[in-house]
């Protein structure tokens, strides 16, 4: 009887252990707890990779406008997790479709950052020094953001975009780390999924999600909602944009554009929003691009003002040189004498590296942030740069600005070409 009891107890324990093992091999993925809400879907890159091979891809692709090198690799690494293919899904010869997550999860590319940010600013960058054998890591917890660091000096990082014969693939490792950022741990499934505990070979295999990775992201964010907004096409004529797709709200769509605020903190991760765009048929909407505050790169539609994960569409390529000069890269350096002024205080805005003798306009970014200079119709002032491409403009902060935060940038026109500055943030006391 004793032996029977021992055998039974042993079998039960073995069965329990086997259950764990079988569960692992059947499911594989694991989670670290938490998820990214819709306010934390942004991701940016501070491109401080030191090795030349990390930034030697200079080939543009229409699905990924404006970015090459390590930035493009990391953008694609994040977009692979998205609910639906990014654009037509092409842009990487190693993948069928970039954007195969199939869950209510989409990262929103916000381009470059000027610094590594804090541990919850959602910025990917490189860190110097010995790696101690680690390729990259993600700082958690995830719920209020994350930060990813690649050991830039310790490994021979490659930006692809094709096969990587020597060194480590930025895109594959980025895809893995961004999987951590959205809440996944490591997978024990066979077949080398992206969330495998270690990177095999160069890591290009980690660029594409395996079925276990997809099951993992769905377990956190649920499978893609049938009512999720979907973008099939985006067309631009001048400053008029038409989006066609499905699942749009009749009146409360919010269009997300990439912010052109370049910073190393949290603000640069805020998208520029065009609010309350109607869609009479749920499949098409048209809106006017804001005068400033946005850049080409990508676009998304959020159906309502709610916070359900299924309310946000996948991201879609967006490339426009129009729109009043808001698009394009920031080529002019714009600065202000005090970033935390008081009302009544005089501010001097200065420009450098601008076109010579060019007319410029200083404007507010983020039209949904209620510019406080309402009497100026969104324009702070105008002027002309010097023959050396510099400019200086003086303005007193009005009383109406007390306690407000505003974003201001400058646009310069030379020979019909619009040049854009960085955006500066003013926290008015």
């Amino acid at each position: 009887m004793k032996n029977v009891l021992r055998l039974t107890a042993g079998s039960l324990i073995l069965a329990g252990a086997s259950f764990f093992v079988m569960s692992d091999s059947a499911i594989g993925y694991s989670t670290i707890g938490g998820s990214l809400n819709l306010g934390q879907r942004d991701f940016r890159v501070h491109d401080n990779f030191s090795g030349s091979s990390a930034n030697n891809n200079s080939t543009n692709h229409s699905n990924w406008p404006g970015y090459t090198g390590a930035e493009l690799s990391i953008w694609k690494g994040g977009a692979e997790w998205n609910s639906r293919p990014h654009g037509d899904g092409t842009g990487d010869s190693s993948q069928v479709d970039v954007g195969s997550g199939g869950a209510n999860m989409t990262f929103f590319w916000e381009g470059m950052a000027s610094g590594i940010g804090n541990s919850n600013d959602n910025i990917v960058s490189s860190i110097s020094g010995s790696s101690g054998g680690v390729l990259a890591y993600c700082e958690t917890p995830i719920n209020d953001g994350w930060r990813i660091r690649f050991y830039g000096d310790a490994w021979n990082w490659q930006d692809g975009p094709g096969s990587v014969n020597s060194g480590m693939d930025i895109q594959g490792v980025a895809c893995h780390e961004l999987g951590h950022s959205l809440g996944l741990g490591h997978s024990t499934a066979g077949g080398s999924p992206t969330m495998n505990a270690y990177i095999s070979g160069s890591g290009t295999g980690q660029r594409s999600l395996a079925s276990d990775d997809i099951a993992g992201v769905k377990s956190i964010y649920s499978a893609m909602s049938s009512t999720m907004p979907k973008i099939d096409n985006v067309s631009v004529q001048g400053s008029t944009v038409t989006i066609t797709g499905s699942g749009f709200s009749s009146s409360t769509n919010r269009v997300w554009l990439m912010s052109d605020l370049l910073d190393g903190g949290n603000s640069g991760g805020d998208h520029a929003t065009v609010a309350d765009v109607p869609s009479s048929n749920g499949t098409s909407m048209t809106f006017q691009l804001p005068a400033s505050g946005w850049e080409s790169g990508c676009i998304a539609v959020k159906r309502t003002t709610g916070s359900a994960y299924g309310d946000l569409s996948e991201s879609h390529p967006f490339d426009s040189a129009g729109g009043g000069g808001g698009g394009g890269n920031d080529t002019v350096t714009f600065a202000v004498s005090d970033l935390t002024p008081s009302t009544g205080q005089g501010l001097t805005f200065s420009s450098s590296n601008a076109p010579a003798s060019a007319a410029y306009t200083i404007v507010y970014s983020f039209t949904d942030r209620s510019p406080f200079f309402t009497t100026y119709n969104g324009i702070v002032g105008t002027g002309t740069t010097t023959a050396w491409g510099t400019g200086s403009f003086y303005r007193v902060v009005p009383n109406a600005g007390a306690g407000r935060t505003v974003f201001i940038e400058a646009q310069y026109i030379s020979a019909g070409v619009v040049y854009d500055s960085n955006t500066i943030r003013l926290d008015i006391l």
Partner: protein, 178 residues
Amino acid sequence: MKLLRWLTASAAILLLMQAGNACIEELDLQKMISKTDIAVQGTITDVRTVKYTPENDDLLIYTIVTIEGTNLYDNSPITVDAAFLGGTFEGESMMVTSMPAPSEYRLGNDVVVFSGTVQGWGPDIDRCVYASMGGIFRTIDSRKGKVVLGKGKGFAVEGNQLVSTLISDIAKVTSEAR
């Protein structure tokens, strides 16, 4: 007694499942040996944290574990201070996906740690737990001897094995390298 053995086996299986979240290269034993100069098998006698801010970067927190035992590479007694990124220093935490699981580096744990030298980790650190969670393995006592718990495919110690077997494997790899 048999039940105890079963529980030990179950614990070992559970330990296998709680590896941390590193992003590391694939490291079989041969590769691990080529990248490290110490493999210490012993007991963790101290766990502490330090903070360090590299030039033009943000604050980093490192956990340093002291292991007293034997260097498996030359069978000499050794005490090693080896660090990995992440930890909590005076209430401030830096939790990173490359850290070992807390249960792996607890004070008093018997472990095998593969270690190599590092630069740029601040004045208190000159040596790391190589590959962070990929370089530390728990050991447990069994009737047949001390067992090192493996972490699965792609790790230097793939499956559970006697420490004596690991020592033999290390010697074999080392002699082949010569």
